[in-house]
């Protein structure tokens, strides 16, 4: 199918975009990479009155850093992140995950801000950002606010973002040595959305788990951080197999969200397998 009619604006600065987004009488949507919005419009699941195309706003396309964090503009594409030496050096987890997000033609258009604003529970980046304790920066015509990634995602395709706000950047804390990480996802086919997946992160300069984060995706309505497992892991050696096994057992106490193809029990099994392999990768 084709998209229903709409009006289109291509602002060259952030302020104009925010002004357009602030109209209360019509249904306005920002257009980033269009890799999720265009299908939704072609299916007519989404029928906005006005599209505000963000692709000409250069201030949203920057990757900056200081000694404490890296700030990725919302209009930075997956393919831009893939090419960034700064990201490769400071947050290697991002580089490792990108090849698993869709296919190159989609990564050449899709943006980090679009993925965050969409909040698909099966998407990699929302959970990845929770595993790195990232902060999401939002703006409307009145000003800026920051939300912890953990609090930003509130449900299936639901976030804390108001309709007149844009995601402007994502701030990721960094240390001298990058975080160690494990990542694993189960898919039917390379590049597909995951059936389940897991991220484990921990301080890069220690042999024991320290400030660890365990986040599962595609098994719940939003990124599922399992603090019980993190607390259990902290202080234990990274390569202790019995610790890993006990950590995985903790998953038994959790309920998961089934979908069209996999019921809740299947999801639990996939969650355990994903976590096991993510923990295994951490030591490898």
């Amino acid at each position: 199918m084709k998209a229903a009619s709409f009006l289109y604006e291509l602002p060259e600065d952030l302020n104009t975009a925010l002004q357009l987004l602030n109209s209360s009488d019509i249904d306005v949507l920002p257009l980033a990479g269009g890799q999720s919005l265009m299908p939704m419009m072609n299916f007519r699941v989404s029928q906005p009155d006005l599209l505000v195309d963000l692709n000409k706003i250069d201030s949203l396309k920057k990757i900056d850093s200081d000694s404490n964090s890296i700030k990725i503009g919302s209009m930075v594409k997956y393919s831009d992140m893939e090419k960034s030496d700064l990201i490769k050096e400071k947050i290697p987890l991002i580089n490792n995950v990108i090849p698993f997000v869709a296919h190159s033609a989609i990564r050449n258009r899709g943006t980090i801000g679009g993925s965050i604003a969409l909040a698909d529970p099966a998407a990699e980046f929302p959970s990845l950002l929770v595993s790195l304790d990232a902060t999401i920066e939002l703006m409307n015509i009145k000003g800026t606010r920051e939300v912890k990634s953990e609090d930003f995602f509130t449900g299936i395709f639901e976030t804390d973002r108001k309709t007149n706000e844009l995601v402007t950047s994502i701030n990721i804390p960094i240390n001298k040595s990058p975080k160690k990480f494990g990542f694993y996802e189960i898919t039917r086919r390379h590049g597909d959305y995951a059936m389940a997946g897991a991220f484990v992160t921990t301080d890069g300069d220690k042999k024991e788990f320290s400030n660890s984060r365990v986040v599962l995706f595609a098994v719940s309505t939003k990124p599922l951080r399992i603090i019980d497992i993190e607390v259990f892991l902290n202080g234990n050696l990274l390569n202790d197999v019995s610790v890993q096994e006990n950590a995985i057992d903790i998953i038994n106490g959790y309920e998961f969200e089934g979908d069209l193809h996999n019921d809740t029990e299947a999801k639990k099994t996939y969650a355990k397998v994903s976590l096991k392999r993510a923990l295994g990768e951490l030591n490898g």
Binding site: Y8, G34, A105, N108, R109, R189
Partner: protein, 158 residues
């Protein structure tokens, strides 16, 4: 605010200027307005890869891009692929290895294959499979396509 816009695009080296409806997808503009019917439309939601083509040196899904977003760009469709260089080698190799039957997937498949070779992709069948995982083929079973790309990669990608 308007629901039409005037755009100028360079398609296969020729410049076109048209006033079009903003809701028109790039693939429909290329096929219906300009007559470049070589690129195919399968799913219109980014999944099948039949509409994949090259814009400014990068592959995109032309069903997920509005034609107005292509304003000022240079587009290469299957009609514009050269008979020499990487594109020529791949076309020959696809024919030699029977990497197409109905040919519906071929324009998108070639765009992805060219991208693979141009990015320095090596002769590694797993990597080739992963790279074309976003392009569906309902005929060949992929084996011959992988072989065709492999043989070009093996010869140093030209």
């Amino acid at each position: 605010m308007a629901d039409t816009r005037t755009i100028t695009v360079n398609v296969n080296g020729e410049v076109h200027t048209n006033t079009i409806n903003v809701r028109k997808n790039l693939i429909d503009y290329l096929r219906d307005d300009l007559g470049f019917t070589g690129s195919h439309v399968g799913c219109e939601h980014g999944v099948c890869g039949a509409c994949t083509l090259d814009i400014n040196g990068e592959t995109v899904r032309s069903c997920l891009m509005l034609a107005v977003q292509a304003d000022g760009t240079a587009i290469t469709t299957i009609e514009g692929l050269a008979d020499n260089g990487v594109a020529g080698d791949l076309k020959k190799s696809f024919a030699e290895k029977n990497a197409l039957q109905c040919g519906y997937c071929t324009p998108g498949m070639l765009a992805s294959a060219i991208e693979y070779i141009n990015a320095g992709g090596n002769a590694d069948k797993d990597k080739i499979r992963r790279h074309i995982s976003g392009n569906y083929c309902r005929c060949t079973g992929y084996q011959a396509i992988v072989e065709a790309i492999y043989s070009v990669a093996e010869n140093g990608g030209n």
